[in-house]
């Protein structure tokens, strides 16, 4: 029987130019993280399956540890970083600014430019509360895209507090399956499905109307001012809009307002996010290259309550976007110097000397 030479579906492998290009992109992104004073964290490749966010439970690659515990390869970094901050790093006073760059795996078919195994680069600002931390993370995200040569992109900016408070006011209890249906319909911005989900809810007329408005894109979706007029009597929504406005105002002052677009219907991952949420889209690529948001409750659940915000970029999607926008450098392969004739010892010496001056030298011959 011939040897099976193909890699499993969903596994990633890069070589030569591809690998060089990815490494160069990673270096640029990491240098932005470090430029903002973030420290690297290198979390474990696997942990107990229970560590990871329940929304990823069905996508875990699990295996059994020596003591019979169920372990899983990491499907994301945030839950691991939070756990380490609450445990091993509990003596370190907040704020903790941590970045990571590495592979994650999710048991899902390759889809939309992503294998089951893919590379995430991101950061967590633990102990970072309020608009100051929000601004920092958004500014870093913008800088990362600029640093890799992406010129045409937009951050779609929303606030979990808006949709969450509207769902509460519309009469949906947290465990109500219709709440999930409404949330899913809203994330697809499907007005007829939102209307169906709202049909049984008996809550406030204003909230129901506003949810429909977000799905229909009737003006409140992209305007904080309009939304505030409509939602003035819903206290938590108003507070969320104030938050969002202070962020957009600061971005305006910083000359970055043109990089963000307010989208109050942004509602994916709401069981997790508690404040600002964003996704990053670039021209020429049909799916987001990354995103993030505020998750102020996670650390509390781990016994070390503190606000937190983070974001991540997918390296492979970013590489695709850079390529689509005509960028992407790839260093040349190193020049060869022929081996043979002269004394090999002399050549080694020569090559060492050239390399110490930063040259790349590959021996030729001898294959």
């Amino acid at each position: 029987m011939p040897a099976r030479l193909q890699l499993p579906q969903g596994a990633s492998c890069f070589t030569f130019d591809e690998a060089r290009r990815r490494r160069a992109l990673e270096a640029r992104v990491v240098s932005v993280f470090e430029g903002w004073g973030y420290d690297e964290i290198v979390p474990p490749l696997f942990d107990e399956a229970a560590t990871f966010d329940p929304s990823l439970a069905s996508k875990l690659y699990t295996f059994t540890g020596r003591e019979g515990t169920t372990l899983a390869l990491r499907p994301d970094f945030t839950s691991l970083v939070a756990k380490i901050a609450a445990g091993r790093l509990r003596h370190v006073a907040p704020p903790l600014r941590l970045y990571y760059s590495g592979e994650v795996v999710r048991y899902e078919p390759p889809r939309a430019g992503r294998q089951s195994e893919f590379h995430q680069m991101g950061l967590e600002f633990l102990g970072g509360g309020g608009p100051i931390a929000d601004i920092e993370v958004i500014a870093i995200a913008i800088e990362c895209l600029e640093a890799v040569g992406v010129t045409d992109f937009v951050l779609a900016l929303g606030h979990a507090g808006v949709v969450t408070s509207l769902l509460d006011e519309a009469g949906f209890k947290l465990e109500d399956p219709r709440r999930d249906a409404a949330l899913l319909s809203l994330s697809r911005r499907d007005p007829s499905a939102v209307a169906d989900a709202l049909a049984g809810a008996g809550g406030s007329e204003v909230a129901r109307h506003a949810l429909m408005g977000l799905a229909e894109d009737n003006g409140i979706r992209q305007s904080v001012d309009e939304a505030r007029t409509v939602l003035r009597d819903i206290e938590p929504a108003r507070k969320a809009l104030d938050d969002l406005e202070s962020v957009t105002k600061t971005l305006e002052e910083a000359g970055l307002r043109n990089r963000v677009a307010v989208d109050l219907s942004e509602s994916r991952g709401l069981d997790y996010y508690t404040g600002l949420v964003f996704r990053i889209y670039g021209s020429g690529l049909g799916f987001d290259v990354g995103g993030g948001g505020r998750y102020d409750r996670l650390l509390g659940r781990l016994g070390r309550p503190m606000p937190a915000i983070g974001f991540m970029l997918g390296l492979d999607r970013l590489a695709l976007l850079v390529e689509r926008q005509g960028g992407g450098e790839s260093g040349p392969a190193p020049p060869s110097i022929p081996v043979g004739g002269e004394s090999l010892g002399r050549l080694v010496q020569q090559a060492r000397e050239l390399r110490s001056r930063g040259r790349k030298i590959r021996f030729g011959g001898g294959e």
């Binding site: 939309a112 937009v154 499907d190 499905a193 894109d217 889209y281 670039g282 799916f287």
Partner: protein
């Protein structure tokens, strides 16, 4: 920067042409054999109906028109901001009159359908995991020939069902033609997408 629209040459095409014409938008001639047609302001792709949301999800097309039945089946991650108000159909479970399925389900069940995911989801809510026979069309003949006990399929008037000796056991979903939009295009081509939506809403 112009928009690319994915369409399928099926039952929704004539309605799409009427809608685009009313909205003052260009539309490719229906008799063309070309699969990519540019009309100046818009570019159109002709693909299989089940593939419309796939092209849109990947951003190869910025928008598309497909039935909500297709969205239910593919589960594509796209925006569906506009019910286009035509192409109304029902997704139903149908079986021969003597099946008795309206009262109780047999423990082993075979379902023929083009909509495997929808069928599986429907039976899941009833605690059943039937054998699904995935067919590409002419699903109505399957029960009569003994290939399956019942079918999950689209019904417009119910005539095809009746003529093939089937009754509707249960409605699963009401469907209609939808405009779907790529998530990234919604932001990166904001002005064009907003203008398309606005025109189609008015039309």
């Amino acid at each position: 920067m112009s928009l690319t629209i994915a369409l399928s040459k099926g039952r929704l095409l004539t309605g799409a042409e009427a809608l685009f014409t009313r909205a003052g938008l260009s539309f490719p001639p229906q008799d063309t054999r070309r699969l990519i047609v540019e009309t100046g302001e818009l570019r159109f792709l002709f693909v299989k109906d089940m593939d419309v949301p796939v092209y849109v999800e990947y951003g190869v097309a910025d928008a598309g028109i497909c039935g909500s039945d297709v969205l239910l089946e593919t589960g594509s991650d796209v925006l569906a901001p506009l019910d286009l108000g035509y192409g109304h159909c029902r997704m139903v479970l149908a079986a021969p009159p003597a099946s008795g399925f309206a009262e109780s389900w047999p423990t082993t069940l075979r379902v023929a359908t083009k909509y495997a995911k929808v069928a599986r989801g429907f039976f899941e809510t009833r605690g059943l995991a039937p054998e699904i026979v995935k067919l590409q069309g002419s699903v109505e003949i399957a029960p009569g020939l003994g290939l399956a006990d019942c079918i999950v399929d689209m019904v417009e008037t119910g005539r095809t069902l009746r003529e093939n000796g089937l009754d509707v056991v249960e409605d699963i979903a009401a469907t209609s033609a939808r405009l779907v939009v790529n998530r990234a295009s919604d932001h990166t081509k904001r002005a064009e997408v907003a203008s398309l939506l606005e025109k189609l809403k008015r039309g």
